[in-house]
Amino acid sequence: QQQVKQSPQSLIVQKGGISIINCAYENTAFDYFPWYQQFPGKGPALLIAIRPDVSEKKEGRFTISFNKSAKQFSLHIMDSQPGDSATYFCAASGGMRGNTGKLIFGQGTTLQVKP
């Protein structure tokens, strides 16, 4: 019930290409879906987040697509740059009282953007 499954585990993209990372969740009570970016030796940092009442959110080159019926959401990085090389985590939170604010993370995707 609490799992968030993320794929692929690793991704290599050429500079200027589109990076796509997918996540699926089980708990229909989740109501907050953030994506975090983590560089080596650093803590995760919020990249972009979405609520289930919208199907898409765009911030610069980063877009979240959300499919409530399929319980899936994805991160699209347009015009991928070498500086985007990092590990990306999807997460989910919400639901039962007391679980709000508790982030359930996916397993992570290591993105490498080749120049």
Partner: protein, 115 residues
């Protein structure tokens, strides 16, 4: 504005020894989280505080782990005795309040190696 500060950054100890980690959250953030991140995995919540009250410690191995948040500000996480399987990065995060859509800010983490 200073972010979440954690210390030490790295710690190497022998198994069965005690270890403690310290976290100073962002000023004004009343919610504090301790996460554990195993190599190649997403962070997993250990304990969450609202001010000085632990509101979710269901994932904290209470036989060897303990945490406290004095005066609702700084927090310490202790392991005694440490086991080889405790090797991981321990991340502290804080947010301004509990609830959905609340961004959690992470520190750089403490990398623990138990030998």
């Amino acid at each position: 504005e200073a972010g979440v500060v954690q210390s030490p950054r790295y710690k190497i100890i022998e198994k069965k020894q005690p270890v403690a980690f310290w976290c100073n959250p962002i000023s004004g953030h009343n919610t504090l989280y301790w996460y554990r991140q195993n190599l190649g995995q997403g962070p997993e919540l250990l304990i969450r505080y609202e001010n000085e009250e632990a509101v979710d410690d269901s994932q904290l191995p209470k036989d060897r782990f303990s945490a406290e948040r004095l005066k609702g500000v700084d927090s310490t996480l202790k392991i005694q005795p440490a086991e080889l399987g405790d090797s991981a990065v321990y991340l502290c995060a804080s947010s301004i309040r509990q609830g959905p859509n609340t961004e959690a800010f992470f520190g750089q983490g403490t990398r623990l190696t138990v030998v």
